[in-house]
Amino acid sequence: MARDGGVSCLRRSEMMSVGGIGGIESAPLDLDEVHVLAVDDSLVDRIVIERLLRITSCKVTAVDSGWRALEFLGLDNEKASAEFDRLKVDLIITDYCMPGMTGYELLKKIKESSNFREVPVVIMSSENVLTRIDRCLEEGAQDFLLKPVKLADVKRLRSHLTKDVKLSNGNKRKLPEDSSSVNSSLPPPSPPLTISPESSPPLTVSTESSDSSPPLSPVEIFSTSPLSSPIDDEDDDVLTSSSEESPIRRQKMRSPGLD
């Protein structure tokens, strides 16, 4: 699919009315903020992952290929690494299946680099293939997310990330002002978005307060269902992992009221 693939997908999509975001955030990044590099060749997926990350208080740079990711990180040529003193990347999250360079190949290149090998890399894939997962973990991937990625997945990543960044803040990046980076206290991860289905009807954002709270709609009932028990999908002939603690958490669709 032909695409001009810039650094931030939001630049191309004028329909996105996300507040205050019109292009690449190239201003010097706030040291306290988590900066994530997201890599996915699918525009829809890029938009979703970007939103998932922003809603969990991350700064996001989204690119559409492994090559662009390397370019962004300055790993594509012999550029002096001094230039990247101010480049702060706390997490790289990449799709596995991409044309050209796969997420796995990107992972390897990142782990080979001296500047970024400490940065956690998370792989996303729509296929729950154990050999693929193993290969990525062996190569040093921090985690493996099954697509479609959910808010709970990103929140979990975010909470681990804050711990890591807090602990190794001084080591992670070479910055001119070391004092500010060592002492920066990251706020505990508290999701800004509270998921309370009762509070607002789906698809609407009421800027004015309603006099009466709407009754719990069927859709709201769906979203209050516990997500703890994965359902086997007859379509897939892959392994199921029911443990929520394992990094490979298989997010299965719930079909409320169906079959």
Binding site: M1, S13, M15, M16, S17, V18, G19, S42, L43, V44, D45, I47, V48, R51, L52, I55, C97, P99, S126, K147, P148, V149, K150, L151, L193, I195, P201, P202, L203, T204, V205, S206, T207, E208, S210, D211, P214, S217, P218, V219, F222, S223, L227, D235, M253, R254, S255, P256, G257, L258
Partner: protein, 154 residues
């Protein structure tokens, strides 16, 4: 006092969504999208779905062009397009479209041309059904917002 139309419209929206879930047209991932919508991104669902429509229609057009070509033989390309469709449909919760794309993909893996043609028809059908339903949903939503803005003097 808010216009009574709001409650009625909200009920219509809920009914439509419940129906789409029940039919398996949408799945839980659609709810995830709704959770990503808030005051800072009030049109998120609308925007993502429209981008999904644009991307999907490009892919469907390409698929049709490929299969209509009498000398067609590039099943691998069909597979790649379908991977995209499967992925994006899954990401927005378009379960039925995703599933029929998977079936179509199986036909392409077997280099089964008539199977592919049938598969494409089914995908196009499901896709257009979804699109119509989404338009209806967005229209209801639009009306609801307008109705909520009307204040009756007391």
């Amino acid at each position: 006092m808010l216009g009574l139309g709001v409650d009625r419209l909200q009920a219509d929206i809920n009914r439509l969504l419940a129906s789409l879930f029940h039919q398996g047209v949408l799945d839980e991932q659609f709810l995830q999208l709704q959770q990503l919508q808030d005051e800072t991104s009030p049109n998120f669902v609308y925007d993502v779905i429209n981008i999904y429509f644009d991307e999907s229609e490009k892919l469907l057009r390409n698929l049709r062009l490929l299969l209509m070509d009498r000398e067609f033989s590039d099943y691998k390309k069909i597979g790649l397009h379908l991977n995209q469709l499967v992925g994006s449909s899954s990401s927005i919760g378009a379960r039925r479209v995703r599933n029929v794309c998977v079936a179509f993909r199986s036909a392409s893996e077997l280099s089964n041309r008539p199977g592919c043609l049938r598969g494409l028809e089914v995908v196009e059908h499901e896709y257009h059904y979804l699109k119509n339903m989404m338009h209806e949903l967005f229209q209801l939503e639009q009306q609801r917002i307008l109705a909520a803005g009307v204040r009756y003097p007391m």
